[in-house]
Amino acid sequence: MKTNPINDSLGIFPKSWTEKHAGRIPGNIPIWVGILSELTEFGIFFVAYFIAKFYYPEEFTQGPQSLHTSLGVTNTIVLLTSSYFMAKAMANIRLDNKPKCERYLWLAFLCGCLYLMIKTWEFYWNDLQGFGPSTSEFFTVYYYMTFNHFLHVGWASCAILWVIYRLRCGAYSSKENSGLEALAVYWHMIDLMWILIFPLLYVLR
């Protein structure tokens, strides 16, 4: 696979991390700086969750039982499906099949929108049940994590629109698609964070 020039010249990571020494970097280094920063941010949320659960075990046993689990499951499936569409978009750009790549990007975008709608409905449903960020320590952590994740899905969905525009402009091909791949790995990172958030907030009691 051809080496992306930016991954050789951007001296952020040690030399041993370059593509020459450690292997190909999907996307580009700047997106990985972003991804590692986001992982740190979510890591702090997860640590906060475990500390809060240690001090308020009762709230964290009751809390998940108050949530609309079906909406959480549906959103998990929607995000996993969106990741699949994103992988299919990557597979098709490598074949230079741009119409199919665009179709899969639109499907991933629609999944992102569906996730946002379901999450908005879930926040509304919580509100109808009388649950809010200050209801208990569990709900404070719940809103902190899920709203933050909500924002990430929102701006990544906007990024899909930008990538579709760039694709239509002819910016991506089987030889040069690092911009599209950067979005794909970012989108998968968002999916990965939900894979951790879902059991913590909806399943474990």
Partner: protein, 84 residues
């Protein structure tokens, strides 16, 4: 280039594991065993996305190591939390 069949297999496996996790959480009391099972499946799901959808398998070994480490550390904390 991945074959189409493989991507679909990963999607169905990920959905099946998600439904299995939810079933465990809904139908069984949150015992240590259930918590450990859920933590292990979360790790497996994470590894699957990292290796096959993010395509880090065979790519940069340091990035892959960091991503996989994340899905070892936090599921381990899930297991630790079962003993609170």
């Amino acid at each position: 280039m991945k074959t189409i069949g493989k991507l679909e297999y990963y999607l169905f496996a990920l959905i099946a594991i998600t439904l299995f996790n939810t079933f465990l959480g809904e139908k069984f009391a949150s015992t240590t065993l259930v918590t450990i099972l859920i933590a292990l499946t979360v790790t497996y799901k994470g590894f699957m996305v990292i290796d096959h959808l993010m395509e880090l398998k065979g790519a940069n070994k340091n990035l892959r190591f960091l991503m996989r480490l994340y899905f070892v550390i936090f599921p381990s904390l899930i297991i630790v939390s079962a003993f609170y």
